[in-house]
Each structure stands twice: as C-alpha cells, then as structure tokens.
C-alpha cells in the first residue's frame, strides 16, 4: 500500500503548513524523507491499464481513460493519460500511479505546497475585495472545487544568440526621423521553467511565475499525498518552440532598452538561434491551487501559486458600470479639453492671419490633431488588450485541466 503511519497504519497526507506527512487518524507527523523509495518498490511496476484494452473495445469515449488499482483499498480508480496522483473515490485516500513517475520518468525535484487550501481561498477573496469592476456575486463567490495540483515543468538551461536591427522613429513636429541600430549578442538562461503539460496553456502557466526555485527539494512521491499531479506529455518540438519563444521575448525586450533616446522602437530585422542544453533538463513538479466557480452559467477558474500565493485569473467584469463610468468621465474630460482648447485655437487662427507666424501655428495645430488621434487610438487599443488578457485566463482549457479528476 501507499505510505502508512508508522504508529497506526492509516494513510498519510502532506500538510503544507507543517511541511510534514500527517496522519489524520492519530495525528502523528513524519518527514517525507523518512520513507525510503525501497518501501514503494512493490508498486513501481503497477501500471494504469487502458479501458479499451481491459474491455477489448476501440471506443473514443475510453481513449483517455485508464484504470488504476487504489493502493489503499484496491478499488478501481479512473485516471487520464497524464495523471500521476489522484484521490480514490471509494476510500478518499491518495492514489499515486507510481509507474508513471518511476525510474527514468521520475521527476528530479519538487517544490512542496506552502499554502493550504484555506490560505489560497483567502488570498483570492482579498484580491476580489479590492476590484472596482468585480461583480458582487463574484466577490462572494462559492468555490465549486478547490484542487491542489502539481504541474509538471521542465527547467531548461539554454543560450539564445541573436543579431537584430532596431528601428527607432523619433517625431519632430510634423515630420519624423528613422534611425537604425544593430545589436548582436548572447543571453544565457538557467532553470527557465517550461510547462510540460499539453492541456495547460503556456500563457496561463507562465503567469503563475515566479516560483522560488531555490526552495526545490529532491523529489519524493510522498509530497504528492493529498494532491493531484500530472506527468509531462510534451515532445521535444513543443519544448523547443516554448523555450525559443520565451528566450526570444526576453532578448528582444532587453535589447530594445539598450537603445538610448525617445521615440518608438521596434525590431526591424532579426536572426536568432536558441541552443538548449538537453543534458541538464530538469523535470520538476511545481504546486498550484485551482479554484473553480460558476458565474452566469459559465465555469471560471482561478489559479494560485501554491508556494508564493500569487493569484492568477481573469475575472468577469461589470460591463454596465465600466462603460457608464467611461462615458461620464469621457464627457467630463472632453468638456475640460474644449474649455482649454477653444481659446488656444482662437488665438492661433487669429494670429495665423498675420503671415509671419502662420508656419509654426500650423505645426502646432497639426501636432494637436495628431496627438488627439493618437490618444484616442491608444485608449481603444489598451481597452482591447486588457479584455483579451482577461479572456485568456477564463479559457475553457484551464477548466478542462482541472475538471477531469476524481473527487
């Protein structure tokens, strides 16, 4: 069976507050390191069997369904193709699929949960309380499910080498000048965390960062007790794409700041190459709480970094309040701008009839027009960007990552 209490043989669960394995029956506490891997040897080869193979079918419904025998009660637990630990629906104890994290598939390190379920929920409610556009029903939300899940990550060492040409556009009155600057260099990364689960999008998982990787511990299956977990299911192509994307973003952001002076800057041309050190790839499990709730018939998921407590979610917003405040403020600012601009334009137009200063007056009016258009466009673009970002973390894929698990 799974790791048992040495005093009463009841199953143990990892307690984030105490950072120890705790017996729910007699209250005994043990460090995970006290239980040797050799004690779990009998279970390392026990595999989860595909339901199609068991029933001799070829059904699409059973494609991602596997049956695993619970280590505690012998009941049949249904897991998907990538789960490494779950809860048994019969006895409620943790069921660890040892064969998926044994031998060459064994993670090297883990960051144990630091936050309890209550801490995670409290952190979320604190954030929601402060949100001006968070609807009242969400501020008092009732969690449908709260699950602690260890997400698989690859910690990658790599070198990003690139040669870029940066285009800098500096406005000078009505005209603008363009300058080109060249930069070629290397950026080395250590322990760049890449989410190793296909089901969870990189955009969502990367927002859980930063993790304090200095607190990593040597992997021990006992840290999984009481939590869910997944194994890595990405291939080298996915890894290279994700690493290349991140390294390139970091490099380009840095290199743009190396160009002095104002104006807008963008990458005009680039050549790059990201070299991954495949020998130092480190397979790690990092903790996150997933909290789901219903709002207006739609499932929403909140992620909480299980180590630092960082909350990640796009909360549905009170659109009526937002747009009405926006319109009222827009009208007020328009009135103020009109009061300021009218006399300025009046004096410009009257002075422009005297030809000596008409050229500079024309430039000033031109600058005002450009400024007004730029301000309006920037405002619309920013609102669209924020709405897109909110929708990203409301994506169905995050909910799907959580939902298909045993209670």
């Amino acid at each position: 069976m799974i790791t048992q209490c040495r005093n009463c043989s009841a199953p143990l669960v990892f307690d984030p507050e105490k950072q120890k394995l705790v017996c729910g029956h007699c209250g005994s506490e043990f460090a995970p390191e006290e239980f040797k891997l050799s004690e779990k040897e009998p279970y390392l080869d026990q595999k989860a069997e595909s339901m199609n193979e068991i029933y001799g079918t070829d059904s699409k419904e059973f494609m991602d369904c596997y049956v695993y025998i619970c280590n505690s009660c012998g009941g049949e637990v249904i897991v998907n193709g990538t789960e490494a630990s779950t809860k048994c629906i019969y006895c409620g104890n943790s069921a660890v699929v040892f064969s998926r994290i044994a031998k060459h598939k064994r993670p090297r390190t883990i960051i144990p949960f630091r936050l309890t379920q209550e801490d995670a929920e409290k952190a979320v409610r604190e954030k929601f309380k402060k949100g001006l556009f968070v609807p009242k029903e969400i501020k008092n939300f009732k969690a449908e499910n709260i699950r602690g899940i260890y997400i698989p990550y690859w910690l990658v060492d790599c070198e990003h080498k690139a040669a870029v040409v940066i285009q800098q556009t500096v406005k000078s009155g009505k005209s603008s000048r363009r300058y080109y600057h060249g930069r070629a260099g290397r950026m080395m990364f250590k322990d760049l965390p890449i989410d190793a689960s296909k089901m969870l999008s990189d955009e969502s998982s990367s927002r859980l960062e930063p993790f304090n990787l200095g607190a990593k511990k040597a992997f021990d299956e006992d840290y999984l007790l009481g939590f869910y977990s997944n194994v890595s299911d990405i291939d080298y192509g996915d890894l290279r794409d994700a690493v290349g994307r991140r390294a390139r973003d970091y490099f380009n952001t840095h290199v743009l700041t190396s160009v002095k002076g104002g104006g807008t800057k963008k990458i005009y041309r680039e050549q790059y190459c990201t070299k991954i050190d495949y020998n130092s790839l480190e397979y790690a499990m990092l903790p996150a709480w997933f909290i789901t709730y219903d709002y207006k018939g739609k499932h929403n998921t909140i992620l909480v970094n299980g180590q630092t407590g960082k909350v990640v979610c796009g909360v549905p917003w009170n659109q009526i309040l937002f747009y009405s405040l926006l319109v009222v403020t827009g009208i007020a600012l328009t009135a103020v701008s009109f009061i300021i601009l009218k006399p300025i334009l009046a004096s410009l137009f009257s002075s422009s009839s005297r030809s000596s200063s008409s050229d500079s007056d024309g430039k000033f009016i031109g600058a005002l027009i450009v400024g007004a258009v730029a301000m309006f466009s920037a405002g619309i673009v920013k609102i669209r960007k924020v709405i897109k970002s909110i929708n990203l973390t409301q994506a169905q894929s995050i909910f799907n990552f959580v939902k298909k698990r045993q209670e």
């Binding site: 060249g182 926006l326 609102i383």
Partner: protein, 103 residues
C-alpha cells in the same frame, strides 16, 4: 473652429478616459498578469557587436549577417516528435554562476 476644437477635445477626452479606465480594469479584473522577470533566469545580454545609427541601407541589411553560423544551427538534437525525457547523466556544470544570475 469650434468644430475643430470639439473634435480635438473628444479625441483627447475620450482617449484619456479609455486609458485611465483600461488601467483600472486591468488592476481590478486582470489579476496576476505578469511572468517571471528575465533577471530571475539570466544575467542579461553579452553583446558581441553593437552599432548605433547605422549609416546606410547596406549597413542595415548586412549587420549581423554572419553572426549566427552554420555550427550554431547544426547540432545533435532529439527528434521533434519524441517525448521529452530527463538525461540519465548527472547535469553538467556549465560554469554559470547561479547566485550571480539569480541576484
């Protein structure tokens, strides 16, 4: 002239209102929209070549053309469709100063 002033005022007024409320909405409802900073994982860029205000089109088109070499692209890499695996060997020490990188 009044019409021009009104149009400019609408552009500035509503534009500013959009910027203000987009920031408030982002702070209120787009929670945790940030990823780990580069300084957590890297020491920054080591520049091998740098040139400001490139003089002409030729300089612009030719800058850094030979920086990425054939050797950089040619390497023994695992097949794209193979599942990622951890090396059985102990990780090599690449000589990067971890404390320096992490700050």
């Amino acid at each position: 002239m009044d019409i021009l002033a009104m149009l400019l005022a609408i552009g500035l007024g509503f534009g500013l209102a959009c910027l203000i409320f987009a920031s408030i909405l982002s702070k209120s409802n787009d929670i945790g929209n940030s990823i780990g900073e580069a300084s957590k994982y890297s020491n920054g860029i080591y520049y091998d070549q740098s040139a400001d205000k490139l003089k002409n089109n030729t300089a612009v088109e030719n800058f850094g053309l030979s920086y990425i070499t054939k050797d950089d692209r040619l390497r023994d890499i695992p097949p794209t469709d193979r599942k990622v695996e951890q090396s059985a060997e102990e990780p090599r020490d690449l000589g990067w100063n971890v404390d320096q990188i992490r700050g």
